[in-house]
Amino acid sequence: MLSTMMRRAGKCAAVAAAGLMMMSAQAAEPIKIGSFLSVTGPASFLGDPELKTLEMYVEKINEDGGVLGRQLELIHYDDVGNASSARNFASRLLRSDRVDIIVGGSTTGATMAAVPLVEQAGVPFISLAGAVVITTPVKKWVFKTPQTDRMAAERVLGDMKERGLTKVGLISGTGGFGSSGRAQTLEVAEMMGVEIVADETYSGSDTDMTAQLTNIRNTDGVQAVLNFGFGQGPAIVTRNYNQLGIELPFYQSHGVASDSFLELAGDAAEGLRLPASPLLVPDSLPESDPQKEVVQNYKSEYEARWDSKVSTFGAYAYDGLMLAVRAIEEAGSTDPEAVRDALESISGYVGVTGEFNMSPEDHNGLDADSFRILEVQNGDWKLID
């Protein structure tokens, strides 16, 4: 008799325990963060630091107890810089992995390929790519962390105007980055009352831009030169500029804001200015700058963990992940609708790239001032503004 009762009680306890375990398992189900990045292939200089950043901070957040008491799970794919595989992976993330939010898309092409799927599935998507088209016009589910090339143009032309330079010679690469930058520069120049007096281009594989620069130099009234380009082209332009002995103030775009550019261009880069992330000059930011601490922390943590130089592109992923975490915390759940609304109302988040103030009209949330104007002095970056 007693033994039967004991057995029954034991059964009850077992059932109860099993139930409890199931409940806690449900509570601890991880939050799935999906990502597709160009980790290999021609855009690997974007995807590689981005993935490293995501991996590192997901790990760190999990060690600190996760988000809403749940662990984060990073599911990522490598799109090799190819828009059509980006689309396939986005579809896999949405349909079979059923992720709660996507942070990814290293290039504008990959991002735009995934946008229709994301909009249809109704899952928040934070892109890490640059072009204006991603968030203009505003798409309900799509956000992005990097500044646009338009802001770069605004910042450069603004700095020129401050120095009293209003007649500008433009030289740009014919690749996606250069041609989009050229179009934005022409538009912004018209709005700001700056005159583009020369407009030259070069293709990405060109090895000498002396002819184009000679044309610009010989243009009447030109007061400054701006180069919008990417890769090794701008470094060759810089060297040719120096060889031709052109004395006009010289500007580059944020496309070359990295230490490897300084290495390629060498002494020829002396004195040129460009808009860039404060990540290049963390130590010269004034103490009052709210970004100083975030930037310094990210730089030292990244470099300690991966033993390689920190890059601006990894910072986009850092901001993307932190915005996602913040939105989920604010929403108190992973309900897509609630997370999206929380993302849209984020304001005053200080990231590595800048201060984000999202709104229903602005899914990027940065303003042009998040770019700093740097000048190359003695082979290093110097903060000007």
Partner: protein, 291 residues
């Protein structure tokens, strides 16, 4: 006005001299085997990249250059031994496709060994540009032109004065007959690949201070070199030199006087024109089809 013209001319001649050296490499192998070696650009890349990485390791510049050229030469021999020779009886088109495969393979290896970044090489002599009638000439351009000229003269002497050179010529004219008179045609082919690899790597080294160098620099420069060879007439040494210089100067002039957007378009339409009126190129041999 004149200084402007001079500036475009300097730019064109410098890059044209590079195209000419690459075109000569194409010509050499084409002559010996009727194969167009699309791995020619990779020799260029090997030359530049090996020199850069050796100097970074602390090897003196001169030694690094010699080692890089030797490395490229060995690669040329290996390419012929292990990729071309095994496909003995294959027709020319198959061999050409093999060279394309080899170039992708070499580029892949280079990417793994040296990474994807661009690298800088110092000018051989001073960084100070030279002023000529208001135009500016990079001192490295003089090196490109000088070394190019020396190589062309050396090649001419090699083909007209040495037995090996004559053996290569004989093989190119008639493989069967050459074999009958005791020329080891496989050996000759190997030599042709080696010499063309040496040429390519030297070109790669002298232009590296101007263009930078990276694992994929060979693609576009190799293509331009091929275009130069085709304009000059495949198989003609003189044609390769003239074709290269012409292509370089036309590119620079159209970038300067027309529009930089149409630079490549002008260069490539020039090829269409040349080949339309002179299907064998400017200096191509008149070949009579034997029945």
């Amino acid at each position: 006005m004149f200084s402007e013209f001079l500036q475009y001319l300097f730019t064109g001649v410098t890059i044209g001299a590079t195209y000419a050296l690459i075109a000569l490499g194409f010509t050499l192998i084409y002559n010996a085997s009727h194969v167009i070696n699309f791995a020619q650009g990779e020799f260029l890349m090997i030359g530049g990249m090996a020199t850069v990485s050796l100097t970074a390791m602390g090897v003196p510049m001169i030694l690094a250059v010699v080692l890089a050229v030797v490395l490229a030469g060995i690669l040329g021999i290996l390419l012929q031994r292990f990729a071309i020779a095994p496909a003995k009886q294959a027709d020319v088109v198959t061999l050409i496709i093999i060279t394309i495969g080899a170039s992708i393979f070499i580029r892949g290896i280079a990417q793994i060994v040296w990474g994807k970044e661009y690298h800088v090489m110092q000018n051989f002599t001073s960084d100070e540009p030279i002023q000529v009638f208001g135009a500016v000439l990079n001192s490295q351009s003089l090196w490109v032109l000088g070394i190019g000229a020396v190589l062309v003269v050396a090649l001419v002497l090699f083909f007209t004065r040495t037995l090996i050179g004559k053996a290569i010529l004989a093989t190119s004219m008639n493989k069967e007959a050459a074999r009958l008179v005791g020329i080891r045609t496989q050996m000759v082919l190997m030599l042709a690949f080696m010499v063309s690899a040496l040429l390519g790597s030297v070109a790669g080294i002298v232009v590296a201070p101007i263009t930078f160098t990276s694992y994929d620099i060979g693609i576009i420069l190799g293509l331009k070199g091929f275009v130069a060879a085709a304009i000059g007439g495949l198989g003609s040494g003189l044609g390769a030199v003239v074709g290269g210089l012409l292509l370089g100067v036309v590119e620079a002039m159209s970038a300067g006087y027309l529009s930089s957007d149409y630079k490549d378009a002008v260069a490539f339409s020039m090829i269409l024109l040349v080949l339309f009126f002179l299907p064998r190129g400017l200096f191509g041999a008149k070949v009579v089809e034997r029945v």
